[in-house]
């Protein structure tokens, strides 16, 4: 059984060199530039930055899962096992989304005003940034789950996969009970109340959902051809 490291290196190199990561990153940066301004309440801005990580993560999964021509995927699949190869692909996409989420959280934390929504209560900067980081990770995990369930090997025709991915990303942000929605509303209500939340329960939920989605996708790699 091959170690995961060379697979991750291969997938990361594929993603970086394909340059298909550019559109989601540029779109995400533009989204932040429009919605986040210097001096705005920190938790509101962090919630906004975290929410946008979710569709980006799903998009990264789609890029990674469709980056390799099928014949090349077969060569790697024979060497490492198709499930393992796909695991590396999904982990790479998650890693890229998490990295983007961390970078955005740092930037937003530095630029924002450490106060509640009505600017009456001061909030501690580092705990607030930490809460934003957890929310960003929740969204990266859930976005990875959405992406894993709406691309190869589950959905193969782009005509169905892309709308499914977009719909999945929107639903993951708005449906009651979604960890992403819970994490973001924790930030928003915390901002209104002047307290820093710790959205750890959503993190657990998102981790479990992502693990389940990844397990299903990897298990299907050898069955859907």
């Amino acid at each position: 059984m091959t170690a995961l490291r060379p697979l991750l290196r291969y997938q990361a190199a594929l993603l970086m060199r394909s340059q298909r990561w550019l559109p989601p990153v540029i779109l995400y940066a533009a989204f932040l530039a429009i919605g986040v301004q210097t001096g705005q309440p920190i938790l509101d801005s962090l919630g906004y930055a975290a929410a946008a990580v979710l569709p980006v993560a799903a998009w990264f999964v789609r890029i990674c899962a469709t980056n390799e021509p099928p014949a090349a995927r077969s060569c790697v699949g024979a060497a490492a096992g198709p499930a393992r190869a796909h695991l590396a692909c999904l982990l790479t996409a998650f890693g890229a989304a998490a990295l983007l989420g961390v970078a955005a959280t740092v930037v937003v934390t530095v630029l924002s005003s450490p106060t509640s929504t009505n600017h009456q209560t001061r909030l501690p900067v580092l705990p607030a940034g930490g809460a934003g980081l957890v929310a960003a990770l929740v969204c990266a995990l859930l976005g990875t789950a959405v992406g894993a369930l709406t691309t190869w090997p589950l959905l193969r025709s782009p005509g169905r996969a892309v709308p499914a991915m977009l719909l999945g990303a929107v639903l993951a942000l708005v449906v009651t009970g979604s960890p992403a929605r819970a994490a973001i509303s924790d930030l928003v209500t915390g901002s209104q109340a002047g307290t820093v939340p710790a959205p750890l329960l959503p993190l657990l939920g998102a981790g479990a959902m992502a693990a389940a989605a990844v397990a299903v996708a990897c298990a299907l790699t050898t069955r859907r051809g």
Binding site: T2, A3, P6, L7, R9, Y10, A13, L14, R17, S18, Q19, E68, P69, A71, A72, S74, C75, V76, G77, A78, A79, A80, G81, P82, T222, R223, G225
Partner: protein, 299 residues
């Protein structure tokens, strides 16, 4: 330690639902280490599906496959749409096959050289010709000396020299105890060499006996080696018989198809063997026709 790859009652159909037709059904197959197996069949009969199951790229819908060792696969058409140089891609694949990066880099250069594509090592994959891409696909499979090598029309697109290198590499792999399974449209491919040939007919395997591969000629190789030395095990596996007419001299009877490989093993052994003479023997008549000892030997 040597395990057989076993397919037991293996069936495969694509798509979900009960209406999907079976491509293969009830396939039983044993692939022992050190054997070469050829799979034949008309287009669309499920040869590629069988090879993908053997290589572990697909899972059987029913039945089971056990004992798969370290595996490498060469597809028929290898697309160049990868954002790497040829050498860069091979180093990645070498690491995935379990080599260290330094070993992978060395093996990548070595195999590109053997296949006559050394000058493309630094060329972007997207700029490679179809033939050179196929050489890269062959190199990724061979560079880590896999225990199971699965070749789906791997020869198509290769030039004559590279085809010979791949044939030779296949025989060396089996001589070293590896298992090789291949599909090729050319019936002369590795003629006489396969230990077993199967045809895919109606979703199942039928053993093909003797027909496509008449073993009609042998080569007699007389060699002199270090006194009392045994011939290398890899060479001995490929020979039909070994006699010792005079102490220190050996007379090996080798199927024609394996002779180049045996000679190469003997000549590149740690303590090299001196080839005294080569001769052809027709199995039908048993006549030994002398052939000059300076007959071209692959280097």
């Amino acid at each position: 330690m040597e395990r057989e790859l076993l397919l037991e009652g293996v069936g495969r159909r694509y798509g979900l639902g009960r209406a999907a037709p079976w491509v293969l059904r009830g396939v039983d197959l044993t692939l022992a280490p050190g054997t070469l197996t050829r799979v034949e069949g008309a287009n669309g009969t499920g040869k590629s599906t069988l090879l993908r199951l053997i290589a572990g790229i697909d899972a059987p819908t029913e039945g089971r496959i056990t004992g798969r060792p370290r595996t490498a696969y060469v597809p028929e058409r290898f697309p160049a749409a990868l954002p790497f140089t040829a050498a860069g891609y091979l180093i990645h694949l070498g690491s995935i096959h379990g080599l260290s990066r330094a070993e992978a880099a060395g093996a990548a250069v070595e195999w590109l050289e053997r296949l006559g594509a050394a000058e493309y090592a630094r060329t972007a994959m997207s700029e490679l010709s179809k033939g050179t891409s196929q050489k890269v696909a062959v190199a990724q499979a061979l560079l880590a000396e896999p225990e199971l090598l699965v070749l789906d029309e791997a020869w198509s697109g290769l030039d004559t020299a590279a085809r010979a290198v791949l044939e030779d590499a296949v025989l060396q792999r089996t001589a070293a105890g590896g298992t090789v399974v291949f599909v090729d449209h050319d019936p002369r491919r590795l003629a006489g060499a396969p230990d077993a040939t199967y045809a895919v007919v109606d979703g199942n395997l039928r053993a093909v006996t003797g027909s496509s591969a008449p073993q009609d000629s042998y080569v007699i190789v007389e060699v002199e080696g270090p006194s009392g030395a045994e011939p290398p095990a890899e060479a001995a596996r490929l020979t039909v018989s070994v006699e010792e007419p005079v102490p220190g001299k050996l007379r090996l009877t080798v199927p024609d198809s394996h002779s180049d490989t045996v000679l190469r093993i003997l000549l590149t052994a740690r303590s090299p063997w001196h080839v005294i003479s080569l001769g052809e023997e027709s199995a039908a008549k048993g006549v030994l026709t002398p052939r000059p000892a300076d007959t071209e030997v692959p280097s």
